[in-house]
């Protein structure tokens, strides 16, 4: 049965009436203008700018207190349910743990089909058998699997349309990312930075599954940047690319962030900056050619993956209109870059106790604090290994002009140790432990993205693993690691409503509308919860 697929069709496709007949075709034009049809949710981050903002305003600051559960859908057992579902014309499509996927009636939560690509033995996923969601085009959904495959599924039935192997899971190449659809291609990035993979970003033609291009995030011999790796360390250099990027159609550039170099806590064998780990990459959408890169944390020793969502914003910068890229980075700085050329514009710390770097210099390089490297005995460093923030989504609201970021307040003691590379095995170069006697906590914070000034924060008791959504109703929705799904006033951070969903939230909320009602969805444990006004 290895590699076999199971599919349970729970309803006959022909009997399902979608809310807007004749519109089930997802065209590229619709995705380009995704923000203009807020009743749907067409891409992982809501649109190409990755604002995770919705124009829906039915749920607002005065009525959010009345939110009530409308339906729940159970995907699997308790775990880390990281998907952001898509909603397309009345049907919700999501992915679950262990290579699961499903389509449900967005009005009732009733399953239309379920799919699972059965996992082979010994799949190595550092941080859970998770998946973050689908991309869509035409009548198909696209999913990247834990065992290194990329699939196209039929929207109506869950049937596999095509299936390609992108990389060998036995070497710890896994996918957890929600693909990004750009024109006729779907873009995916690989995970495996804990296992010494050589990271890459791939593009596949949506119609055939044929690979259009691959960009290795660790340059090979003869390629620019190869000289930033000592000896053969590039071969196991990591720099995975496991979070969904953003896209600027005018510049035809994909912005895709990368993760830590391997081994993460020991840099002895990988002297140099280790490009393109912990970087923002701007790739030509058609060819995958690198237009520019900016490295946030050169020669990282603290697992400061830069796999956070790039937020694209056109706004004046010191009086001049500019195409900006905002990035709240795991290393504790909030960056502003010029996304036409990668020029560094500013970096403001958003983690008050940050102690690994003094600042980011005018040249865009961190001024690293002496004595912050991991040692055999351990060095207390802030932020800790899970970062000042992480993969979960930020949100930008054009209504408030604020950037919302789920932040962790934790310092760790980092140690290092020599480690031999064994294919498909952990390649960490040691470990971190929480700093003794310091209570870790977290917060949802609102920032002025241009100055980095904190406008408000809503405190979480423990560091978060969930992101946020902002809406035209003036509400920010977010989930914490203690299982609370909250609605906050986007201007003040005031708690408008909260509910305990019974499991840590490892996802970012999304919203859609149907029959004139706005729904807000949060996955937690193994269950999707959909809330609306009564």
């Amino acid at each position: 049965m290895k590699g076999a697929t199971i599919r349970v069709t729970l309803a006959v496709a022909g009997l399902i009436t979608v809310a807007m007949p004749g519109r089930s075709q997802v065209t590229y034009d619709r995705i380009l203008k995704a923000a203009e049809e807020p009743q749907n949710w067409l891409t992982y981050s809501g649109d190409y700018k990755s604002w995770r903002y919705s124009k829906l305003d039915q749920i607002n600051t005065s009525n959010a207190g009345n939110l009530a559960l409308q339906w729940a859908f159970q995907s699997a057992d308790l775990g880390q349910f990281e998907t952001t579902p898509l909603v397309i014309d009345g049907v919700l499509y999501g992915t679950g743990q262990d290579n699961r996927a499903f389509a449900v009636d967005a009005r009732t939560g009733r399953a239309i089909w379920r799919y699972q690509r059965r996992l082979p033995d010994k799949v190595q996923a550092c941080c859970g058998m998770v998946n973050r969601g689908f991309a869509a085009l035409g009548e198909n959904l696209f999913m990247a699997t834990l065992d290194g495959h990329v699939l196209a599924l039929d929207m109506k039935t869950g049937n596999v349309i095509w299936d390609v192997e992108a990389a060998d899971y036995r070497q710890a190449y896994v996918f957890t990312v929600a693909p990004l659809l750009v024109k006729d291609k779907i873009i995916v990035g690989v995970a495996g930075g804990e296992y010494g993979v050589r990271g890459f970003i791939d593009a596949y033609y949506a119609d055939s599954g044929k690979r259009a291009w691959r960009f290795y995030t660790v340059p090979g011999p003869g390629e620019p940047g190869h000289e930033t790796w000592a000896g053969d360390s590039w071969k196991t250099g990591g720099a995975p690319a496991w979070i969904t990027g953003s896209y600027d159609p005018e510049l035809n550039l994909i912005y895709w962030p990368t993760g830590n170099p391997s081994p993460s806590n020991n840099g002895a064998e990988r002297g140099g900056d280790n490009l393109y780990s912990n970087s923002m990459l701007a790739l030509d959408a058609d060819t995958g050619k690198l237009k520019w890169h900016y490295q946030f944390t050169p020669h990282d020793l603290h697992d400061y993956d830069s796999t956070q969502i790039p937020v694209l914003l056109d706004a004046p910068w010191h009086g001049q209109p500019r195409k900006l890229l905002l990035h709240a980075n795991r290393n504790g700085f909030l960056y502003v870059l010029d996304r036409t050329n990668g020029k560094f514009l500013s970096a403001t710390p958003f983690f008050p106790r940050l102690n690994w770097a003094k600042e980011i210099g005018l040249d865009g390089r961190p001024v690293v604090m002496p004595g912050s490297d991991p040692t055999s005995e351990g060095t207390r460093t802030c932020p800790g290994a899970l970062g000042a923030t992480n993969w979960f989504s930020p949100s930008y609201s054009p209504q408030t002009g604020l950037l919302y970021v789920a932040a962790a307040e934790e310092c760790d003691v980092f140690t290092n140790a020599p480690q031999k590379y064994h294919e498909g095995h952990d390649f960490l170069g040691s470990v971190y432990v929480p700093a003794t006697g310091e209570k870790a906590w977290g917060a949802l914070r609102a920032f002025d993205p241009f100055t980095g000034e904190k406008k408000w924060e809503f405190k979480y008791f423990t560091p978060p693993n969930g992101g946020c959504l902002s809406t035209a109703g003036g509400v920010v929705f977010a989930g914490d690691s203690d299982g609370n799904f909250v609605a906050l006033d986007a201007r003040s951070g005031k708690d408008l409503w909260h509910i305990q969903v019974g499991a840590a939230i490892y996802s970012s909320p999304m919203t859609y509308a149907l029959d004139g009602r706005q729904y807000v969805v949060i996955p937690a444990g193994g269950t999707l919860f959909a809330f609306a006004l009564p």
Partner: protein, 279 residues
């Protein structure tokens, strides 16, 4: 329900099968020796593997952590032979928090070599009277008011049924004399958020009326607090009803200094505690 019973039956049959296999394996494994014993590079690799994989529970240098025992004492509760330690690492220990681990054989042997290199060769019994220690524990010392041993005792502090297998004499002595010095740290495990970490810090809930309830937090979040009070009652608060929640990084346990516990009593108590191995 039928399905659930059926699954249980299959699991029961499966576990009988596993026990049988383990018993058979046990018979055969007495001769298996670690090929890497004393090998310096294996010990180094084992140390590195230990840090990355085992230290979150057993502590950075195997001295015991929030969930796992001190492994330096030479106790080998689940079997002392090379083969038994190999099995403990690779298959885990049912009924405990020790999981199975998918290491290569060579990696397990490297871990065994590392553990042998840091553990005491023989276990010296603590000089003291076990029965006297037990009398002190449940009598004059009042330890049993807060600690449970084999179902007898209080609930506020950690259960000590297996403490002799988990902690060194030095650690126990420190915990008795200076309980605030090394409070257990709640695990910050990003992949295990369903296990509620055991914390024994002092938490005080102050109600709007000014009433103070002191205890240990069984759980807490942004909106609520589940407090096990010194009265051993569960106090379930909404934070909006509280004036303040005070967290102190200190133990509720008093320090058992010389005036409370003389040297002989300490020896007896240590003899009793180290005899507790869950057997």
């Amino acid at each position: 329900m039928v399905t659930s019973l059926a699954i249980r039956f299959i699991m029961w049959v499966g576990s009988v099968y596993l026990v049988t296999c383990a018993t058979l394996a046990l018979g055969q494994e007495t001769e298996i020796k670690n090929p890497l014993t004393g090998d310096p590079s294996a010990i180094k690799e084992g140390s590195s593997l230990f840090r990355a994989n085992c230290s979150p529970c057993h502590g950075l240098n195997a001295g015991g952590g929030g969930r796992g025992p001190d492994l330096r004492g030479g106790l080998w509760v689940h079997g002392a032979s090379d083969a038994a330690v190999f099995r403990t690492i690779s298959q885990g220990v049912p009924g405990t928090e020790m999981p199975a681990n998918p290491f290569e054989d060579s990696e397990v042997w490297a871990l065994v070599a590392y553990l042998r290199s840091i553990s005491a060769v023989t276990k010296t019994p603590v000089a003291g009277d076990v029965a006297e220690g037990e009398r002190f524990f449940f009598g004059k010392g009042a330890c049993g008011k807060c600690h449970m041993v084999k179902g007898r005792g209080g609930r506020l502090g950690p259960d000590l049924t297996r403490v002799g297998a988990a902690r060194s004499v030095a650690y126990l002595t420190e915990s008795i004399r200076e309980p605030d010095k090394d409070l257990s740290l709640a695990m910050s495990d990003p992949n295990n958020h369903y296990g509620i970490p055991a914390e024994y810090d002092t938490v005080t809930a102050v109600t709007r009326e000014g009433k103070r309830v002191i205890g240990v937090a069984k759980n807490e979040d942004a909106f609520s607090l589940q407090l096990l009070g010194q009265d051993e009652k569960l106090h379930l608060f909404l934070k909006k009803d509280l004036r303040e929640v005070i967290h102190e990084r200190r133990s509720l346990m008093p320090a058992y200094t010389e005036s409370r516990l003389n040297s002989q009593e300490l020896q007896n108590l240590l003899a009793y505690l180290t005899s507790l191995r869950g057997e």
